[in-house]
Amino acid sequence: MSSKQLNMVQAINSTLDSFMAKDDSVILLGEDIGKDGGVFRVTEGLQAKYGTERVIDTPLVELGIVGMAIGMAVSGLRPVPEIQFQDFIFTAFDQLVNQAAKMRYRSGGSYTVPMVLRTPYGGGIKGGLYHSQSGEAYFAHTAGLTVISPSNPYDAKGLLSSSLKSNDPIIFLEPKRLYRSIKSDVPDEGYEIPIGKASLVHEGDDMTFVTYGSAVPLVVNTVSKNNLNADVIDLRTIMPYDGETILNSVKKTGKVIIVHEAPRTLGMGAEISAFISERAIDYLMGPILRVTGPDTPFPYRLEDYYMPNETRILKAVKKLQEFR
């Protein structure tokens, strides 16, 4: 089977391309996604190939982009709206929470919203308060939304492919920090990574790391570099998260560290931790620790202090190792 070394931008671009080629109900819309190819160039070349009717440069109005996409989806299309930065999604938040997420439920199943909302999120590009936020918890707390974040180009293609076949609204969060920083071998052929299944990206017996998105390479590198005998779980799907994989690992290791960049309070770490202590309390051999961004806005100049790093992860490891 042939494959290519691609970065995440390329993997997403080629996945969109292949779905658009097969299915004329797939339509992209967003700000600057056409001629400009998107501010991160993720949709580069697609307007030239599929025309302005299928790759729509919209006026500057996120709630309109999302609202239109919902209407398109209800009418049988498969819209893929792009929000230029996840930080700007809040201007469309009502459309997501009160329309997209509740459509199937409120209509008794009559109407559905098969839409994949793509948006870059997270820090690491010196974007300051408004070009760095990690808002996954807002979406994951919203019943009706499915929340996905790939941590590498291979997963990006597989998860986006599954998303484009789902009949529920999907929030597809692209860790912008990883857009071009890593490559993986990506098969030319289509494949899917199932929604709701985590991936064990490193195996070990002493402790369990639960993480996703841009924190995955950090955790894997930290584990490898420091020869930690640890399971590393890449959630891939944030909501619904894969409780089973988490539980199996925790029952083996008894020690857990959750790592993400979003703020600690009510970040995904809170849910994972609560989930574990609800049903594996007697397996635990130490506190469930969280290594996350702090509960402050995301700063510009000091962004390296904001994001989790190796030192902080090792501090947590030490704390667990020294427990009792």
């Binding site: 239109m68 209407g71 199943g109």
Partner: protein, 330 residues
């Protein structure tokens, strides 16, 4: 259908809607219904609009569109079942009364946050244009809703992309307690200009006038694919909802049965045209009453939705989380 038949049918719908309205309001006071937003006063404009449409046209309606729905053939059972939230309700009893849904008749499911149906209507119109179909989209909302973000977004997008959608503003002069003059300084139909869209104002209390305008605009939108804003001027004759007490903030200017009542206006014209006489009108009213009473008693007996339904339709397949919660709760 000839003109006479068409207007008599329209009138029958108006009467039926009014009768149902009164029934539900009374039932609410008796504790048999939880809540309701009366339609009283807005019958003519809705039915006039509906008369101009085709079966395939899509409606992104709001919570006061009972006459509209009845006229397009939505069974009265469907509406009462929604009001009751019973097991036969299209929405499985999940939504508050007045939040109807009728996919078979191309009515979207009504949400509460006002005007947030408008951007969806634009998306639906985009799909029509993209698929080169000939149907159009109508979306309805109140005067107060023109202040919302969603109105602005939808109007601009429909204009920029040239989409076949009719924005029907049901200007009933009030948004709960705020009169339209305090909502905005400008007549609503004029707001269309700011988007490069055509705006029209019509007397929404006059079934005949409304139908004329609706017919012309529907034809234009269907043929040209261009959007339009219709301001149908009317009056909210009832309270905002059964929870509302309008005496706190206004003195009603149009009372039921007075000469400003759209049903009275319609009757007068129908009689002038010789389409109906007093006797026939009387019979229409009696028939409506009989039907509404009968259907209401009948639907009241329908069982509530079963508790398991609460856990369905959040996603296509329930997540393990929801399954687990269901197990814990039931």
């Amino acid at each position: 259908m000839d003109e006479k038949e068409m207007f008599v049918n329209a009138y029958k719908t108006m009467v039926l809607a009014r009768t149902l309205d009164r029934k539900i309001v009374t039932a609410q006071r008796q504790g048999r219904v939880g809540f309701y937003t009366p339609t009283m006063g807005q019958e003519a404009l809705q039915v006039g609009m509906s008369m101009a449409l085709d079966k395939d046209d899509l409606i992104y309606e709001y919570y006061r569109d009972v006459p509209f729905m009845l006229h397009r053939g939505v069974p009265i059972e469907t509406l009462i079942d929604q009001i009751m939230g019973n097991s036969m309700d299209n929405e499985k009893g999940r939504q508050m009364p007045s939040h109807y849904s009728a996919k078979e008749y191309n009515f979207m499911s009504v949400q509460s946050p006002v005007a947030t149906n408008l951007p969806l209507a634009v998306g639906a119109a985009y799909a029509i244009k993209y698929r080169k179909k000939k149907n159009i989209v109508v979306t309805t909302f109140g005067d107060g809703s023109t202040s919302t973000p969603d109105f602005h977004a939808a109007m601009n997008l429909a204009a920029v992309f040239d989409l076949p959608v009719i924005f029907l503003c049901e200007n009933n002069k009030w948004a709960i307690s705020l009169p339209v003059e305090k909502q905005t300084k400008v007549e609503i139909w004029k707001k269309a200009e700011a988007y490069g869209m055509k705006g029209v104002k019509v007397d929404g209390n006059d079934l005949f006038a409304m139908y004329e305008v609706a017919k012309a605009e529907v034809e234009k939108t269907r043929n040209s694919g261009e959007p339009v804003l219709i301001e149908a001027v009317s009056y909210r004759m009832g309270p905002h909802s059964t929870s509302d007490d309008p005496s706190k903030y206004r003195t009603d200017t149009i009372k039921e049965g007075s000469e400003g009542d759209p049903i009275v206006i319609a009757e007068k014209k129908l009689k002038e045209k010789g389409y109906l006489n007093d006797e026939e009108i009387e019979k229409i009213k009696n028939d409506a009453k009989e039907l509404v009473d009968r259907k209401f008693e009948e639907r009241e007996k329908v069982s509530p939705p079963s508790p398991e339904t609460m856990f369905q339709d959040v996603y296509e397949k329930p997540t393990w989380i929801i399954e687990e919660e269901k197990g814990e709760i039931l």
